[in-house]
Symmetry: C2
Subunit: 416 residues, 2 copies
């Protein structure tokens, strides 16, 4: 018997039938004596419909009013789910973000949770209620409706689990967990039973977006156990089986003693490489190049500067492919000013990364990675490393090959 | 320059284009220096869609949760209208019932307004904002979302006008005012420039539902001037013209000195007549007949009991046609118990009524009415009178004829 927070996304509550399925799943857990708090998203498509409506009125909708409109999506779902639970004979009560006093800052459409008043939830749980909470939304100190931005319902679930000190936050999605890599690229990809928050963040930064990044950060900060599991399994799956299904995201100490060296292989082909060739190697050069890019609101990822040679150096970084043209335009102007020879762009690249907290205590992961790529005839264009991640930029045509090779070399093809 | 509350119903905000029209109309009034508070309903069809969704989950939806779901309809509209006003360069801010602390009792789906916290509205108005408020909804003392029931947005508008001591509550509808009778029956029907609250209530009780009855009661109680006017006129109609258009519903003293004898002719063919024949004329008989009907939640309207004859009397009343069969079933059981001879039902009847505060001080209205009906060859089955209304029950096939005759006899065909 424990307090469990469950979060169901838009697809899981996308129709009346699916809402009834969610209710059956909740009832099953409740039937085992657990206390249940259920966080839900808007029915799939609903948030987009509401935003489109707003844009018909105002091409750039006022953020405060957009939140007023968008927050209704989740409000509909909580009412419907509470009804579905009652229909199964359970006691249930719904709360909007405002009613629960999910206090956020006032950054409309991308607010951050500051505090949750969990008192009413505790009282309801004591009285045997299933508490149903609207994800994605909160209220600021002035009583304005706020939303947390896309994927914010994950964060709502984790924040509630933290405030209530729940045993676990179960996030039901349309995938059954986190994989060693994308199964569409490597059919042998294995589901990870456990992964640390840091690994999860690094995987996400490489494009493996099972959970919203902010929710993972939040979970890490407050040490909330998060389990990603599938809402597509039959609701009647025994609790004992479901409780250990999916992937548990946890702090490092909770992870297995024999932590695998590498948790997974992530990749991303949405980026383009920009290189500034033969630029004078003097202090402030990186700032002079990147500052105008940042001013243009262009996000820069991997940055590499080689050691200078004869007072000159090459400076490379990656940006989103959609931003490549703008970036090159900006740099053409900067080029003259900083005395660089040439600026070149390449959008036929991809990033491939190895992620694993085990790397910290093991040497040789990088060299093993580079050898595997070399043996596959793949040239490495850029390298960037962090404590638990090694990223390479390569020609995009080798992406699948690189991912498959690395997946095999690091024994990720085998069941855990 | 005055404080004006405007209320727009579902049809008036039924599409993006119509919401933009509402914004233009509001901007026009604001442009004349008035302070504007705008109350809106859900976009037409939306409340029905939400209730249907709830019924798919629970055939008899939990009232608390139904209100959570239904209240989202108005919340969408307030955000969209606030955006549309900003798009026209105005300052605007939206409020849900909960945000404005429209305090109601906890009778979910049919809550009554107890109090409105008008402070934030006043502050916004001082700062030049147009305040946009979600009609139909409130919040109870425990913070639960409540709704006021169908047509509740009218009441929201009137209650706000009362709390803010607004000069006028303008209710924009798809008709351009209150008529002497239904123009579909009598093409000569005239728009009334003024009508008293009491007349309005009596007209409504006879089926002429321009405004929700409760909103009229509320307006009467707090002496709020209410104007019914059309949202179908071009938004560009000059303020001076619009300000005197439609029908003003007001307290008697405000009405014209030369108050017409009769304000209008109302009618209703949704009812059926039930007669209990030859029942012993003794105390408690009405109670014994009507109590089981009330227990079955059947609403009873006109009740007539004739003076007894030889210790026996006949007892008649009307119910909604849909309730006739149930009523007769109940009375068959009661009949034996009270010793009545027979119970008969007739669903081929209609009610026709004359309404006017002028009747109070004028004798002869009833006899003029009965004579007109007699001259048209119409037999009167039941008569019921109040201070400002005379209702007759007649064969439904004479309804149009009766209405036309009375409309003519009381000079309602002429422009005011």
């Amino acid at each position: 018997m424990a307090l469990i927070v469950q979060k169901y996304g838009g697809t899981s509550v996308g129709s009346v039938e699916r809402i009834k399925n969610v209710a059956r799943r909740v009832a099953k857990w409740k039937g085992k004596g657990h206390d249940l708090v259920v966080v839900v998203s808007a029915m799939s498509g609903e948030t987009n419909r509401l935003i489109a409506l707003a844009r018909e009125i105002q091409p750039h909708p006022d953020p405060r009013e957009l939140d007023v409109v968008a927050a209704t999506g989740e409000q509909v779902t909580i009412g419907l789910l509470a009804m579905a639970l009652m229909e199964l004979g359970l006691k249930a009560r719904s709360y909007t973000g405002g009613q629960l006093r999910v206090l956020t800052d006032s950054a409309f459409t991308k607010a951050r949770i500051l505090k949750i008043d969990e008192e009413s939830v505790r009282r309801d749980l004591t009285e045997g209620y299933v508490v149903v909470v609207a994800g994605f939304q909160g209220v600021d100190a002035q009583g304005n409706v706020t939303t947390l931005g896309r994927g914010g319902s994950d964060t709502s679930g984790v924040a509630l689990a933290a405030a209530l000190k729940a045993r676990e936050c179960q996030i039901f999605t349309d995938v059954d967990g986190v994989y060693t890599t994308d199964p569409r690229v490597v059919p042998e990809a294995q589901r990870l039973k456990k992964i640390t928050f840091e690994e999860m963040l690094e995987m996400a930064s490489l494009g493996s977006k099972v959970l919203q990044t902010r929710s993972v950060e939040f979970a890490g900060k407050y040490a909330v156990r998060v389990r990603v599991l599938s809402s597509l399994t039959p609701p009647e799956l025994p609790v004992e089986e479901e409780a250990v299904s999916g992937t548990l995201i946890t702090i490092e100490e909770d992870a297995d003693m024999e932590q695998a060296l590498v948790a997974g292989v992530a990749f991303n082909r949405d980026e383009a490489k920009v290189t500034v060739l033969s630029v004078p190697d003097r202090p402030g050069i990186a700032y002079q190049i990147l500052d105008p890019i940042a001013d243009a609101n262009i996000e820069v990822d991997v940055i590499v500067q080689n050691v200078g040679n004869e007072g000159m150096t090459d400076f490379s970084f990656t940006v989103h492919r959609n931003d490549l043209k703008r970036t090159l335009d900006i740099l053409q102007k900067v080029r003259v000013h900083i005395g660089a020879r040439e600026v070149i762009g390449d959008d036929k690249i991809c990033k491939v990364g190895l992620v694993g907290v085990g790397m910290r205590s093991h040497v040789g992961v990088a060299s093993k990675m580079f050898r595997a790529l070399a043996e596959a005839g793949i040239n490495i264009q850029m390298i960037s490393t962090s404590e638990i991640k090694i990223t390479v930029v390569i020609d995009e045509k080798y992406m699948e090959l690189a991912v498959r090779e690395l997946h095999k070399v690091f024994d990720l093809d085998q069941p855990q």
